[in-house]
């Protein structure tokens, strides 16, 4: 009965009812612009009307796709985590125990510690979907497990120093940088490969879209191995000394190396020299981290400073003095920055957009921290330290809504297999690694020299002569282009001066002539005045 009544109550009073939700839901321009990929093409700059029509219709399609993507945000069903302090308190005061008291059981289980006191300190690595974790103890202990169910996939002692560990494209394979060689193991811990091309490696990185395993070694050698075909793609002797600081820019797959002189260098497998070299610290660089969109970089040095850089302009945004050296830095998916100082992890929020004065969270771990990493798609920070591994809750760290076609934490075996095939089909060639990832979509403008060369190739046309020979110059001298300009300027000035002189002469001449004529005239008139006219005057020759 009650239900019936409520239904009746909902009935409109007016017989003519207007749907207040008429038409598609309104979209804010800001939401739509989040899905924009660069500027639209200006139709006015297009010459032919057919192409213009084509471009207009294309732009329409792009805009409708943007709108659809923005509208699909409605379907994202997870909300990001957060931590809000009570009045008079600060978020950094809360310990893990305080947080676990108020969260659900499932989340409580994400806060745990693994005590491994004999083989530490540990390096850690999460898979791309955040489901599995790999631990590598310096004294040879390697373990892989599903950290949510705490199910161990494999565990072994490699009986050698372990410098770094790295998951490859799936949770079925991982690479371990051991004392001399680098080895690849499968999920049962069986050695599949021994990569003798990668010797004395200190740091490993994996570029999942390129299938490249990047390694940096003791003897300052940086090498790229394509693990899908097992071939070395590139290798550079960087001559920067021991390479023990390496990270990748997830946005453009550029490898960043930190050096003892305080510099950071950026490398692509296509160029022998670093693409960018930045002096970031006055002392040795300890660690580097780049956030997901590739726009910001955080570095730390042994001078106890953490610096935030803008990678679009390569300029310093903020510099923080932590006091003691920061041993590791890590950005979460939602741009929280974790910094490991001794045995304490500081977590900063909004560190990119503004200068902050206090950390968002602080957590002391049982041992000296070696490595920290945020778990993708979870509010969890993994910490590898001298006495094992700790997993801490950090509300607001992870991306709440994953895309199952990119990385799926709930992937089944079949899905993983399918995804592996798709990944291999879409493997990007290493020569496409570039600072600017959108370079493929840009117009390839020919240089003047290329155009000239092309014209020379054309038959039966005389090549144009260009009166410009770039001068050999020493570094630091002025630019050839400017010299040429200056020369041309001088030439023009000469010409102008000549013209001016000539004009002046002409004027003077004209003036002289006029004065002469005037004088004559005056003289003549005066003659007429003074002389009396005679009879025979009319026979005299007249002045013209």
């Amino acid at each position: 009965m009650a239900e019936k009544e409520t239904r009746e109550a909902k009935k409109p009073k007016n017989s003519i009812m207007k749907d207040i939700f008429d038409g598609p839901a309104p979209l804010s321009k800001h939401a739509v612009n989040r899905y924009a990929r660069g500027h639209e093409v200006d139709e006015k700059s297009v010459r032919t009307k057919y192409r213009k029509a084509e471009i207009i219709s294309n732009e329409k399609k792009i805009y409708s796709a943007m709108k659809d993507a923005a509208r699909a945000e409605m379907l994202l069903n997870e909300q990001a985590g957060f931590l809000e302090a009570d009045e008079g308190e600060h978020t950094s005061q809360y310990t893990q125990d305080d947080i676990t008291k108020v969260v659900d059981v499932q989340s409580q289980q994400k806060y745990f510690e693994v005590k491994l006191e004999n083989f530490g300190p540990y390096r850690i690595n999460y898979t791309r979907n955040g489901r599995f974790i790999l631990l590598g103890g310096e004294k040879g202990h390697v373990a892989a497990f599903d950290w949510q169910t705490k199910q161990l996939t494999c565990e072994m002692n490699v009986m050698e120093t372990v410098n770094d560990i790295q998951w490859l494209h799936t949770e079925n394979m991982f690479a371990v940088a051991q004392r001399l060689w680098t080895y690849i193991y499968d999920n049962q811990g069986i050695e599949i490969h021994c990569l003798k091309a990668l010797d004395r490696v200190l740091r490993l990185e994996f570029l999942p879209y390129h299938f490249l395993l990047v390694s940096a070694n003791e003897k300052s050698y940086l090498s790229y191995i394509d693990i899908s075909i097992g071939k070395k793609v590139a290798g550079f002797p960087t001559a920067y000394g021991r390479l023990d600081v390496m990270t990748q820019n997830p946005y453009n797959a550029i490898t960043l190396l930190g050096h003892s002189g305080g510099t950071v260098s950026m490398w692509s497998p296509n160029v022998k020299q670093p693409l960018v070299k930045m002096l970031c610290h006055r002392s040795a660089t300890r660690c580097i981290s780049v956030e997901q969109s590739g726009q910001y970089m955080a570095t730390s040095g042994i001078d106890g400073k953490v610096k935030i850089w803008d990678l679009r302009t390569y300029k310093l945004l903020h510099s923080y003095k932590v006091g003691s050296p920061v041993y590791d830095l890590s950005f979460s998916q939602r741009n929280l920055l974790a910094a490991a100082v001794g045995d304490v992890v500081h977590i900063y929020k909004d560190s990119l957009s503004k200068e902050i004065d206090a950390p968002y969270m602080c957590q002391r771990s049982p041992g000296f921290i070696r490595n920290i990493d945020f778990c993708p798609f979870e509010d969890v920070l993994g910490v590898g330290h001298s006495t094992g591994f700790s997993s801490y809750l950090v509300p607001g760290a992870g991306e709440p809504n994953f895309d199952a076609l990119e990385a799926n934490p709930y992937q089944t075996k079949k899905q993983r297999r399918q995804a592996e095939v798709k990944m291999l089909l879409d493997k990007i060639q290493p020569d496409l690694i570039n600072l600017d990832t959108a370079v493929l979509g840009k117009v390839d403008r020919k240089s003047a020299q290329d155009i000239l060369e092309e014209k020379k190739k054309l038959l039966y046309l005389k090549p144009e002569k260009v009166d410009f020979v770039p001068r050999y110059k020493k570094k630091g001298g002025s630019k050839t282009g400017k010299i040429e300009k200056r020369k041309k300027g001088v030439l023009w000035e000469d010409k102008r001066n000549q013209l001016k002189e000539r004009l002046l002469k002409k004027k003077l001449k004209l003036k002289n002539n006029q004065t002469k004529k005037l004088k004559k005239k005056i003289l003549k008139e005066s003659k007429v005045d003074t002389r009396t006219s005679k009879i025979l005057d009319r026979f005299q020759k007249k002045d013209s």
Partner: protein, 442 residues
């Protein structure tokens, strides 16, 4: 107590309930979660292009059975599965295309079958042959005797049926217009004295017809008028002519000078386009039902597919055994090509070499559309362009093509030298389109 929310997903939202369900695939279109979009898309386009070339197997089968070279082919106007061929020994065969079998054999003429066309209801068809007769055949049965025989004074070289009226046109010494039912032509159209070897009615402007003559001319007629309309003379003779089925004013001729010319019938003085690529005389041409492309068969033992607005062919088909191609057809469903060659064989090809035949699943279709779009988007990239344009052709053809290229280049060089050493304006620039036209007459 702090206010805390930690990400904690309910697995039920992400894992399928039973094994028979489809997988749940939540999406998030946030661009930062999808890095390397451009590069990945390019890789997909490259792979799609490679796969297209990998699957390009255009040859489907042959229609084997004629005992002499095949001279004419004719589409069935209604049924897609039937095609008619006429051979040099006067035999006409009907073929079942899906089964690649001969279904009917009719002895029509003594000597060559020269022309063939259907009545609009597809019940009867006309043939003409070297025995100076035009015959009408009943298509519903396997006929022994023609329904009607018209005796002509000269050898009819071609035949075309009016698309709406009861009229047929034949050619020989002149273009003869017959009203169906009569045995004498109602009109005889000539322009100069010469033999005319091809005639075709316009499918849209149905009163217009065009013919190719041995004096290198193409003549347009209106069958309501007493005299021909226009005439254009090219440098060499045109072998065949095909009207665009969707653009009434456009037609393409297959010329003896290795080229095809597309004309606008309103302005015959210059062709709209010159289609080059064959390395020997082009013998036949036929339009696709979409009117966007056409197929040509040549003396160089290849058939090529051209786009109407492009100068170069987009496809070339050849086999080891195929001899010079006498006639070609483009099927009315736009999917198949037929070529009849000198060695008594008729071959069936796919119009789109890499097309997958048979029923496609929706997902398959979607993925094909996607890769098609990608190929379109990245077609100007040098690597993709190179792969999609590359065709392996027989050595003889390759060599001949490079020889022709050398000849053309040397001619150009000579012309430019002459231009450089003579009075300015004495050697004018003549465009490629105008080069091949001798003149237009009205």
């Amino acid at each position: 107590m702090p206010k805390v929310k930690v990400l904690s997903r309910n697995p039920d939202d992400y894992v399928r309930e039973t094994k028979k369900d489809i997988f749940k695939v939540p999406r998030n279109y946030n661009p930062t979660l999808h890095p390397f979009e451009e590069a990945r898309e390019y890789t997909r386009a490259l792979n799609a292009t490679k796969l297209e070339r990998l699957f390009a197997k255009p040859f489907l089968g042959d229609l084997n059975g004629h005992r002499d070279g095949v001279n004419v082919m004719c589409k069935h106007p209604i049924s897609l599965s039937k095609v008619f061929t006429g051979a040099c020994d006067g035999e006409v065969r009907e073929w079942d295309l899906p089964k690649l079998q001969c279904t009917k054999i009719i002895a029509t003429h003594s000597g060559f079958v020269r022309g063939m066309d259907f009545e609009s209801d597809a019940q009867k068809f006309w043939t003409c042959g070297d025995d100076k007769t035009i015959k009408l055949w009943d298509n519903t049965i396997t006929p022994e005797e023609p329904l009607q025989t018209i005796l002509t004074s000269d050898v009819p070289q071609g035949l075309s049926r009016h698309k709406s009226k009861e009229v047929i046109a034949t050619c020989g010494q002149s273009v003869n217009i017959y009203n169906i039912g009569r045995t004498t032509p109602s009109r005889s159209l000539t322009w100069g004295i010469d033999s005319i070897h091809h005639v075709a009615f316009n499918p849209i402007e149905t009163e217009i017809l065009a013919s190719c003559a041995s004096d290198r001319s193409i003549v347009l007629y209106d069958c309501r008028e007493r005299n021909p309309l226009r005439k254009v003379i090219l440098k060499l003779r045109s072998n065949k002519l095909a009207w665009n089925p969707l653009e009434a004013f456009t037609f393409t001729v297959a010329n003896e000078d290795y080229n095809l010319y597309t004309f606008d019938m309103r302005k015959l003085s210059t062709p709209v386009n010159v289609h080059m690529n064959h390395i020997s005389a082009v013998l036949d041409v036929d339009y696709s039902p979409t009117g966007k492309s056409f197929v040509s068969g040549s003396y160089d033992k290849t058939i090529r597919v051209f786009e109407v607005n492009k100068g170069r062919s987009i496809e070339v088909y050849h086999t080891k055994r195929m001899q010079r191609v006498n006639c070609v057809l483009w099927s009315l469903d736009n999917r198949y090509l037929l070529s009849a060659s000198d060695e008594m064989n008729v071959r069936v090809w796919k119009a789109n070499a890499s097309e997958k035949l048979g029923v496609l699943k929706t997902r398959e279709k979607e993925s094909m559309n996607y890769s098609q779009k990608l190929k379109q988007k990245y077609k100007h990239f040098p690597k993709i362009k190179g792969i999609s344009k590359k065709r392996h052709i027989p050595k003889a053809i390759y060599n001949a093509a490079s020889e022709i290229a050398t000849i053309r280049e040397s001619q150009k060089r000579k012309e430019s030298n002459r231009r450089a050493h003579s009075k300015p304006g004495a050697v004018p620039y003549v465009s490629e389109r105008q080069k091949h036209v001798v003149g237009e007459a009205k």
